[in-house]
């Protein structure tokens, strides 16, 4: 069974997913960041494949991607870094990025490589639903991979139903109409949108992401979904901490430790 499904079967609430950009702050931090996140209680990890033109991302992930590329990160190297990751890490791992690097790698090779390493899914925001369905899904299915699809406050009910139908792991609920970025407050989120989706009784679990940055926004999101995703705030944290291990520990504790 795919590790994403296993996770949602055993844990229904307060799931914490963390995104980081591979190759940032340093080229070879990838494995350590993953291990430390798991050790500190994170449930799911999104490993960012840096891209030169991240149009769905705000300044933080733009900068981390730029640095990662300058450091020499690319998909081949990332796969090389991850080749033994399943010897030490058990939680689900997702690759997140843009379609062009994956397209150049070749979608069949990419999916096979993911399966070989033990990657459980992808999030590729600029791979739209219809392209995925007609040209990509077969490769995903063959390799037991999930492609996680997004919904936003503007997504129509009919389209949400369609996305729910084709999704296998979970649905990524974009918190508000925006690019990625930290710094939002609970008041900035549309609780009515969160409630509307909650009341739709979708078959897939949901995680809320974009703008979730601290204990308050995480806690609020968890009231309306199975959990939430933190990206930019974590990238900021690792970029400013002098010691990666301590930085990660403090960051995760601040989000999930009981009061």
């Amino acid at each position: 069974m795919n590790r994403i499904n296993k996770l949602f079967e055993t844990k229904k609430q307060n799931i914490l997913s963390v995104y980081f950009t591979a190759g940032f702050p340093n080229l070879n931090d990838t494995v350590e960041i993953i291990q430390e996140l798991e050790k500190n209680g994170v449930d799911l990890i999104e490993i960012g494949i840096p891209f030169s033109d991240p149009t769905a991302d705000g300044p933080t992930i733009q900068k981390s991607s730029e640095t990662a590329l300058k450091n020499g990160m690319n998909l081949n190297l990332l796969f090389e870094q991850l080749k033994d990751i399943r010897k030490s890490v058990n939680i689900p791992l997702i690759l997140m990025g843009y379609i062009n690097p994956v397209y150049q790698y070749g979608i069949d090779r990419f999916c096979e490589k993911c399966a070989e390493i033990g990657i459980d899914g992808t999030i590729l925001p600029d791979l739209p639903l219809d392209e995925f369905e007609s040209h990509y899904k077969a490769f995903y299915d063959k390799n037991n991979l999930h492609n996680i699809l997004l919904i936003t406050p503007q997504t129509s009910e009919a389209r949400i139903r369609q996305i729910d139908e084709i999704s296998g792991g979970f649905i990524y609920m974009v918190s508000s109409a925006s690019t990625t970025g930290a710094g939002k407050k609970v008041e900035d989120f549309h609780q009515d949108y969160f409630e509307r989706i909650q009341n739709m009784q979708l078959k897939n679990p949901r995680l809320i992401g974009f703008g979730i940055s601290d204990r308050a926004t995480f806690g609020n999101a968890c009231k309306y979904a199975n959990g939430a995703i933190i990206g930019s705030a974590f990238v900021n944290a690792v970029s400013s901490s002098t010691d990666l291990k301590t930085g990660i520990k403090v960051f995760v504790e601040n989000i999930i430790q009981p009061d």
């Binding site: 033109d53 149009t55 081949n76 843009y98 379609i99 062009n100 690097p101 994956v102 925001p125 109409a177």
Partner: protein, 393 residues
């Protein structure tokens, strides 16, 4: 119909709408409504009226006698440089501002490289009293100061973009991010035949007035509406798309697009996408791109800021692939010589971009009776500083 977009937004294998879900609602609205809106009698009459009274169309088709003599053939110039604001860009922004009005949008965003599309967008926003935000790479802001001032005087906000190489590609990224953050009241006026479906088709339709006029002007001046060949410069490809549009199915008409070779197609400093590029996805379209083996987009270079783009419209990628159009590349050096030649033979100072099409005249075989039409996409006013520095007047 062979070269038209299909219902999924593809020209052969190129095109589509590779958009993040955050843009879906806006793109879907455009896709579902653009044909009905621009096909309506009301739209057509407003559009035609503005093209005539505001842009100054039809633009002349001018027989360039001394240039023809120089090359031993017949050369006609389609004078898009005489349009209001000095280029073909206004044809598209007029069309899109009318469309935005019909969609009830209150705020307009745009990207710009040389500033010509930014000025054309700021102009129509002033005309219609709509809020206007133009994204421009920080490097281009400093390279194209007069156009920045013009946009501001027209009431637009110009936002310098500091990411990436600080040029057109980065400005386009930032405009897309703005649209993601403002999904309700904003229309994005893309300046070329690039981006997700339906933009390439929509912009080509608005620019197609160029070849429509060429046909009737050629009939009047030469007795046939079909020339031997049409030449146009290609950045994203909007002026070329407009110049080719009504000739696409007239297969006997040779179509030639000219890209910016920069310092040479065998150097790193080039913008000749079709020569050095490969298929990929950028700015929500599958098309030919300049990229490295890992799928990271590489930085283009051209002396002309308007051609300094690492992609090309999917229509042109398709015309290239099928061989319907031929694509050449001209270096900075060749282009500057062509600028001087046209200036001193005809008394017309062309834009750097447009001069790429002129430079192709040295690269092709022409017979004395051939009818060559060059789309002179813009005026050289914006490039005077470059010219004065280079030629030393």
């Amino acid at each position: 119909m062979k070269y038209q977009v299909d219902e999924k937004g593809y020209y052969g294998e190129f095109g589509g709408a590779w958009i993040p879900e955050m843009m879906y609602t806006n793109i879907e609205e455009l896709k579902n409504r653009y044909l009905e809106i621009i096909g309506s009698e009301e739209f057509k009459s407003e559009f035609d009226q503005l093209l005539k009274d505001y842009v100054g169309r039809p633009s002349p088709l001018y027989f360039a006698g001394r240039l023809s003599e120089h090359y031993g053939t017949k050369i006609y110039l389609k004078r898009e440089d005489l349009n209001h604001t000095g280029s073909h860009k206004l044809n598209n922004t007029i069309g899109q501002i009318l469309l935005a009005e019909k969609l009830g949008k209150k705020r307009i965003i745009a990207e710009t490289g040389a500033g010509q599309h930014g000025v054309a967008t700021a102009t129509v926003c002033a005309l219609k009293g709509l809020q206007c935000v133009v994204y421009m790479g920080a490097l281009d802001v400093s390279r194209q100061a007069p156009n920045v001032k013009k946009m501001k005087m027209l009431g637009a906000e110009v936002v310098p973009v500091h990411s990436g190489n600080k040029t057109l590609k980065d400005a386009t990224n930032e405009a897309m991010r703005d649209w993601i953050n403002n999904p309700e009241d904003t229309h994005y006026i893309i300046g070329s035949v690039v981006g997700p479906h339906p933009y390439p088709d929509m912009v080509a339709r608005f620019q197609s007035v160029i070849s429509k006029e060429m046909k009737s002007q050629l009939l009047e001046q030469t007795g046939s509406e079909l020339p031997t060949r049409v030449l146009a410069c290609v950045g994203g490809g909007s002026n070329a798309a407009g110049a080719f549009y009504h000739f696409l199915d007239d297969e006997q008409v040779e179509l030639i697009g000219v890209e910016a070779a920069g310092k040479g197609v065998d150097t790193e400093e080039t913008a000749a996408t079709l020569t050095v590029g490969s298929p990929g996805v950028l700015h929500a379209a599958k098309t030919m791109l300049m990229q490295n083996a890992d799928g990271q987009i590489t930085e283009p270079y051209s002396i002309s800021a308007g051609l300094d783009y690492p992609g090309i419209g999917p229509l042109h990628a398709h015309l290239h692939k099928t061989g319907r159009a031929k694509f050449l590349a001209a270096t900075d050096e060749e282009v500057l010589q062509s600028v001087l030649l046209l200036t001193q033979k005809e008394g017309i100072i062309p834009a750097l971009e447009s001069a790429h099409a002129l430079a192709a005249l040295d690269k092709i075989k022409m017979k004395p009776d051939d009818v060559n039409v060059i789309n002179l996409s813009g005026s050289g006013n914006k490039d005077m500083e470059t010219y004065l520095n280079y030629f030393g007047y």
